[in-house]
Symmetry: D3
Subunit: 250 residues, 6 copies
């Protein structure tokens, strides 16, 4: 019976969902089935932290549902790693994985100096905060493209060229030996870049996918699942039922 992974496309259209689902399936390991689900909303993107609030209940409800449906791991598809702690509080068997955390962990294992390529300065304070929180601040530098997330979807060719330029500069001027593409909307660019630059270029969607597979495996084989003791402790059972009810009603 294959293990099932669920990628939450937190914003976008059905077409976008489908595109990322196909992308994920192309790279999934044998024995894993991937599904992408769209959190429907009227949000254009997730550049603003407040936008998450508008879909938070939907996301958590879907997380709870996914665990009940038997998914072995879920991915929160945004490089801000939104709702990661919240989702982990609500699950116990299903792993929950997030793109920035997965990307930085992987990058830090592959090289010494990591450059994260960001869309624009708006993204910088939160990603720097995550780099500090995850423990990698001494080895991370940043490059801003001056592009918003919308550009990432509508002007793929121009974006691709800008990303390549930024990555080249990172390698030359900042001695980066790993580059991280700092937005899930930048998926699909890593391969060509990696070949050109001869260093690993981390695609955050695939980094999440691989960590989802990994956490699924170590959970299943060794019982290494999120500690439910303090940080990710769940509400007590009776409260939890009540909370699940609350999540149902928008």
């Amino acid at each position: 019976m294959p293990r099932r992974l669920l990628y939450f496309k937190l914003v976008g259209t059905e077409k976008d969902r489908k595109a990322v689902e196909e992308y994920l399936r192309r790279y999934a390991s044998p024995g894993f089935e991937v599904e992408a689900r769209l959190i429907k909303s009227r949000l254009p993107d997730l550049e603003y932290h407040c936008y998450i609030a508008a879909i938070a209940k939907d996301v958590l409800r879907e997380i709870v549902k996914a665990e009940r449906e038997g998914f072995t791991a879920a991915i929160l598809g945004c490089f801000y790693d939104p709702l990661l702690e919240e989702a982990r509080e609500l699950t116990s068997k299903m792993a929950v994985v997030a793109p920035c955390q997965a990307s930085l962990h992987l990058a830090s294992l592959l090289g010494s100096s990591i450059t994260i390529i960001l869309g624009r300065e708006k993204h910088f304070p939160k990603i720097r905060e995550l780099a500090v929180k995850y423990g990698f601040k001494d080895r991370v530098s940043f490059k801003c493209l001056g592009l918003c997330v919308e550009d990432f979807y509508t002007r793929r060719e121009a974006v691709k060229e800008k990303v390549a330029e930024a990555a080249r500069q990172a390698v030359e001027a900042e001695a980066a030996d790993v580059v991280v593409l700092g937005c899930t909307a930048l998926y699909g660019f890593f391969k060509g870049l990696q070949e050109e630059l001869k260093i690993p270029v981390i695609d955050p969607v695939l980094a999440s996918l691989k960590y989802a597979e990994f956490m699924a495996l170590v959970g299943e084989q060794l019982g290494w699942r999120i500690s439910k003791r303090s940080c990710y402790e769940a509400p007590p059972r009776e409260e939890l039922e009540n909370f699940h009810e609350m999540l149902k009603f928008p």
Copy 2:
């Protein structure tokens, strides 16, 4: 015309709301009017990070409404400082203040070694994370009471004694010269403790109140308001209207 401050009681009963409102009014500076509003929900407390998600839209809607009503500052009433960045993105004139940030800033100005008294270990990872993020980690230590937030409301006398004990130990064994009460539900205890221990004991509700007054003043007098440039940049106008609509519907 008095400046108006709004305290969001994020959980609890109407009676709790009233109690905290009275408490705040007792300590408000002349020229400030304080109101406390309750975010109604079926949540018993906010010990779990996921609980915030269930009320996030309500909180942000109320934040937006409060700015429109002309409040000069708002306080997010929980020591986890939930939704602080989100709320600041959505406001520009009205200051938004949070208890842990306010308390640690104040404490760090009053002494060198700060002990934060927490309810129980569940609270520890998030508060440690905030202490790191706000810049005070080298000077902060923690003491856990082994009590949950519910206890704070239902067993005031016993809690008071336990807090006093923990504070005494902090002073003696850890050389604390400031104590921070690390939960908004611990309001009302600071005075006696402070007299006994002869060091400042920070009440997070009042620390927020005072910072709210302070931010209100520097905004009004000097134009020093939250920078809207990167971290707290708001969505563009047309998106914002759409977002306000989204917040209306639960």
Copy 3:
């Protein structure tokens, strides 16, 4: 009865004292009276740390005197924050506030990435040290004007333009969302800059003023005054009297 604040102009002429006094009065909150006192000496400025030594006794004597005269807060008027700990040891009721600490605390509450504009490289090591000590090093960057403090007084127009240029670069190249003017002699420039750049520009003289008012209030209303327990512990009474004597004789 109004609360009285005292600003120590640590160097300069009677005319300079008067100018800063007027400036402070223009921005003081109702209920506060501000006075500026000049520490007279033959020093041209305070760029060199050793210069403080030459006036240290005078400053501390004036601090002690000010508390006795009933001032509620005093400001040490130099961005190096000189004698802050010493002054706090010698006071208990009167708050003592310093410009760099006040400015960085305020800036860190208003934005994420702070650029401090310094006169010249001489100022850099001490201010970096203070940024580390106060907890904000991860979020602070520096820009040097290549100007000495004397220039700040004698070539105001040229300095103003240089400061504006540096601030613009900080915003563009370093994604600063708050700018701090890193010398008390740069007072008076914040307003125009702030309007041009659309981000908060912190004037260290006014940041001190506002924190002085703030500390005065929390002391009076809540008893939150400098902890006298370890860091700011005062000499025992009998020693103190002797010490006050010593301060009298130059």
Copy 4:
């Protein structure tokens, strides 16, 4: 064709090698074949950093050989993570994984506060140094058993009980939500402990195994292999041949 993993038992007897090989095979994922090879020497253990020097050439020669034989990943079997950078310089296709790095990465993804259980104080400075280097120092605490590595092999039952005691204390007194067993000789104990304590207990041998599988997969599927650009840059080709020659002669 199965992927082949190689575990270097860096010290011990043929019996020890066999035991760890069996242990690894029990936990290897389908599609992976595991082999353990013993670096033969007269060393009793690797508690002393100088001991590594005595086998360094042997280890690196075996690493080079392993890559040529087509292994997809190799594990350096000691919690000091010896020769990790050296081995990565000498390989390009084969991943090289080390127990402390693998364990801390995994632990940091499963919880917030990590306690590492060490044999004795001798081990502490190096492991603390690794925790700093890998980025996890703020979340890590240590407990020493007062036992040397020899004990781990000869007094398994007593050691097991001591480890359990230390882990219990970590959970109770230090609020650990993940425990890491800080020596490869402590393999085999995690399961019972984990069941008793209800938090993840990381076995460093298995953490390495799982990271070896993981790095093998991301290398194969996505080309994410150790960056050969700066930190792990290999000697130029002609030098490398010469170096391989040097490794041959003891």
Copy 5:
């Protein structure tokens, strides 16, 4: 011609001065002559930071004088390292050395985990601040004797026993491999302790002496003297003369 070193006894009696001078002479290297000079004042000790202010001018005047008299290095005799930057600004050929900096540098070269033994909690915040500033915070822990500096002079035997006890605990409970005696008044105790504990015990008076000799040598032989470029830049010549005048008059 011997190199001459000057130790500033910053407080105490002529008898104390003589005692420390003899102590220093006993340990001075051949080729070095040591003199101790007393800064006379009515201060009983230097436990309070404000006390330094009362003698700052005297100290700096003596520093300037010492350089003119041809001393090759001077030691500021207090573990708070008072006036270190100020004194270095005013000198160029003569090295200036301080006990805490010298002790921590030496200790960090001799072991991994350093315990500093302090008189009482008053001393703790400043010494922690210095440990952070000098770069050793991750490796330093503290033990307080609960004794004031006066005790150090008047109850030598009792103090000696308390220090020994604290050092033993540091070694046993905190795995210290170096102990630093955190007050210049604790001089003379290191030898017996060191023999008992079998680890280096740093006497801050002698650590300063040895660093003074060292800095004298590298200055003389290699021209490695305090950089006069930014941190320790001196006032311009004309200002300096004026300043020297100021120092003359108390």
Copy 6:
């Protein structure tokens, strides 16, 4: 009887050994005799960490031998500070000193902002790691020459000019007040540079020499030798003999 110091030339030719020996002798203090010994191998340089492995046994054997021959201090001649902990484990009376540690300690005592000039990016990750480990990361910046170690030996004049250029830029653009030449092969350049730039320029070979003399003296005079308690604990006597045997056979 003179104290004897031993510099290990870890790579190069007999001519190189002789050159460095003469250089060291020129700068040695009276009372010290210096000898340089070459670790012979087929290695061209030590730019790659794996290269150390090939000579590790030889180095340690020579270290042990040197202590037996009565040397008072030994220097490991490579800026990566290779085998420092290993060598210190194996010695007790003889001090062991390394160039990067010695240079950074000295530089941090002479100024505030340190720029390390590196050959090329390959050297950067390890030296950054050492700067973090030794405690100086907040004050250190880096400049890469884009030259390999071979260039340092074969194109001295061109290298000298490039180093001077880099140092000038460090002083101007990064406000460096101390420059460290980050490779032992850059010895001999400091003097001219230092005179030109008017700031200390640290030669790592001579920094090691001076620290070797210093550690020799404090060991002899005060018994302050490497703590043998945890970090540098040696193997137990019987194991040690066995280990010495192992070192003998290549």
